[in-house]
Point group: C2
Chain length 437, copies 2
């Protein structure tokens, strides 16, 4: 890349960072995208990897593959350790610093356990492919262990699944676990009957899907309960340990707890020594730049944005995409010397969440939609939003297969970074094929 | 399961064990299949997972799903620790022993490093899904690191890939790595040109595909070299370390070494205190039973079988399948009191191996086939051999996609049990979606 051209560095290849890079495709600048992973992940469907409906490669793509046709864009896989704002350099683990003329930070968020970090080992959250395969492993191992467990009480604990937090992630996980357990698995175990399985969704607020309209929350609650999912509302979690979870004055014995409750921003605020909100998000100007640093922008879940009309920007994928594109546009204009104010305005299309087969909720402001039609719209919308044609075809086929047969194809227990992971043992049960087939 | 019926226990859900279980579908016995994994793996295509052409769920299925319609068969996921032949019990880790009237052992083989076990950390072999994703990670990380490496010599080492052993696994890995590197990846890196990439296949014998006919080995050698793969014949490996491999009087600097050379049987021989051959395989009778134990059978790579005509049974998938079915048949007859001799006879269909796009070799005894036609036959045969309809469709589509676009979709670097695995870090680049989409 020529030294003379100006350089925009983007940290993070999620929805925000990718949108920023893509909107710079034809700009006369050098673009560098840095991510510590090699892939962009379609987070909205991650829960389907965790519940064995989809495989990881169906919802993730190498970032450099997505951007392969952008001649002005370089992608590197590296871990950012900080930002030297005086020298205008991004500090990178085991590598030279990367200079920037303008910087866009889109490093997202991570789980937050409200100061109970020890819960993380018992109640994994769902943010990365590793999280998803670890949760998948936990779910499937619970069934395998239950099949072998002679003690009735321990078997019940193994077949009890608790989800903390009834936002879309929690609701979708609860619905998917219930379908996985009752539709796909139960029939294939000798010692497990569908009625032995308990799925418990625990929420601190007084309704599920808090960001949706009242009536849609009510519909979601009803269809969750119609599916046999126990929903505990207005229940704050007190303790989580290896044997279960305590909330309110209740105790639930369970070997599988999934965290869908809280998130905190990545440490960008520390890098920038910038003011942050409670959950660590950088409080940015209306144009998404960092106060006092017109050349640095923060977007997506790493930023706390209050629009000119006083409305905050929600932590959703469309907002991250729009903010990434906006930051790229402002950065370009600034580099060209234009100092006019360019406030970010979030255009809210609507909220979607699915509960299970033929049950979803759509909140499109004036229009609400529930039930089977909403479910089809949800599915078609998500296939449409997938980054790449191949994955649209494969995800659509995988869903069709499950719809027709009820069989989930990705029911693999592999040794990942699950808290329960054991070392691989010596014996290996597949015959060797060192000659030919 | 009724206590009165006789019980056949099968250890291992690979080709041998699965064939044994399936051939007992209609038998009036209780069948228990024990495997320490939950899935049967289609090993012949494992190298395609390692080279990002297929994803794990396309070549693996839960064993209990495959056997779900066999009412007389129970499947448990457990690790076998030994066999109590006097009490006729299989000893199982953290669980009660499992009694048997007849026992079929099909526990396969594992890598063998000819007494150099320290090589394992530098030169992983390819036996399990974890091995495959670890190797995939190693391959893809080498490219990511090379893109960032300023030092030319270290970059060359990162872009040099060594495969030890030129059996089908080694030949197919070499061809697939070369295609992954040159067709799919090279164009997507700024600092990597196709000519920077070296793939070196090291073989101790004087030709590749030793089990094939001379002329087919010669064809394979030529098409490997036509693809720019360096083939080193008659070269014994002396040392393997983190920086490379030494063989003959040569030293090759490489960060990626893959082991396709040797295997040893799983420890069934110790369990049975039975005579074993050099590579630990139990020397069984012509009917596949253990000497002095007509109720115990060993099949597949765990067994060393000499047929009545003096020919040994090769360690290939078809042989394991045939042996598994034979052992099941003999076990049934014995349980019914029939003591007549029932020697196993292996029917050899032929050997196949693929080198790369439009290049494969088929050895069907009288008929030989090479080139594009052989490649199509190879592909169709492997799709046909896949266990499940869905996977036939998906593998065929994945292959079609690569054939048409050259793009491999499973290029994911995930943190598995790769020797190079780092702990997951705090920051997580995907935007949170705790509200809705």
């Amino acid at each position: 890349m020529s030294r003379s051209r100006q350089r925009i560095v983007i940290i993070g290849g999620g929805f925000g960072g990718l949108a920023a890079a893509q909107s710079l495709k034809h700009a006369d600048v050098d673009v560098l995208l840095i991510d510590r992973r090699n892939h962009h992940l379609f987070q909205p469907l991650l829960y389907q990897v965790a519940t064995a409906a989809l495989s990881p490669s169906e919802i993730a793509w190498p970032i450099r593959h997505i951007l392969r046709r952008q001649k002005n864009t370089k992608v590197i896989m590296a871990t950012v350790t900080g930002v030297d704002m005086a020298a205008r350099q991004v500090l990178v683990e085991d590598g030279p610093p990367e200079r920037y003329d303008s910087l866009i930070i889109a490093t997202g968020a991570q789980h937050a356990y409200f100061g109970n970090d020890e819960w993380a080992q018992f109640a994994p959250g769902l943010k990365t492919l590793e999280d998803a395969t670890a949760i998948r492993r936990k779910l499937l191992l619970a069934f395998e262990a239950a099949e072998r467990e002679p003690d009735a009480q321990r078997r019940r604990a193994l077949l009890t699944f608790a989800i903390i937090g009834a936002g879309p992630t929690g609701v979708e996980m609860a619905g998917a676990i219930s379908e996985l357990a009752r539709a796909s698995l139960a029939g294939q175990f000798h010692a497990i009957a569908p009625e032995d399985i308990r799925v418990v969704l625990i929420e601190g607020a007084d309704r599920v899907l808090l960001n949706f309209k009242q009536e849609l929350s009510a519909y979601a609650l009803k269809s969750l309960r119609d599916r046999g999912i126990e929903v505990e509302l207005g229940q704050k979690v007190k303790t989580i340990d290896a044997e279960g979870v305590s909330y309110g004055d209740k105790r639930l014995d369970t070997k599988t707890i999934i965290w869908g409750a809280g998130v905190a921003a990545s440490p960008a605020a520390q890098w920038l020594k910038a003011p942050a909100d409670r959950s660590g998000r950088v409080k940015v100007e209306p144009d998404l730049s960092v106060p006092g640093h017109g050349e640095i922008f923060v977007v997506g879940d790493t930023a706390s944005v209050v629009q000119e009309d006083g409305k905050p920007v929600p932590g959703v994928a469309p907002a991250a995409k729009q903010a990434g594109a906006h930051a790229a546009k402002v950065a370009l204009r600034r580099l060209a010397g234009d100092r006019s104010p360019m406030p970010f305005k979030y255009h809210h299309a609507g909220d979607l969440a699915t509960i299970g087969k033929r049950a979803a909720v759509l909140d499109f402001g004036r229009i609400n939609l529930t039930g089977g039609l909403a479910w089809w719209v949800w599915g078609i919308a998500h296939i449409y939003f997938l980054v790449d044609v191949k994955n649209r075809v494969f995800v659509a086929m995988s869903w069709l297969w499950i719809y027709l047969t009820g069989q989930r194809s990705a029911r693999l227990i592999t040794h990942g970074l699950a808290p329960t992971a054991e070392p691989l043992q010596e014996i290996d049960k597949e015959p060797e094929l060192n000659v030919a087939r």
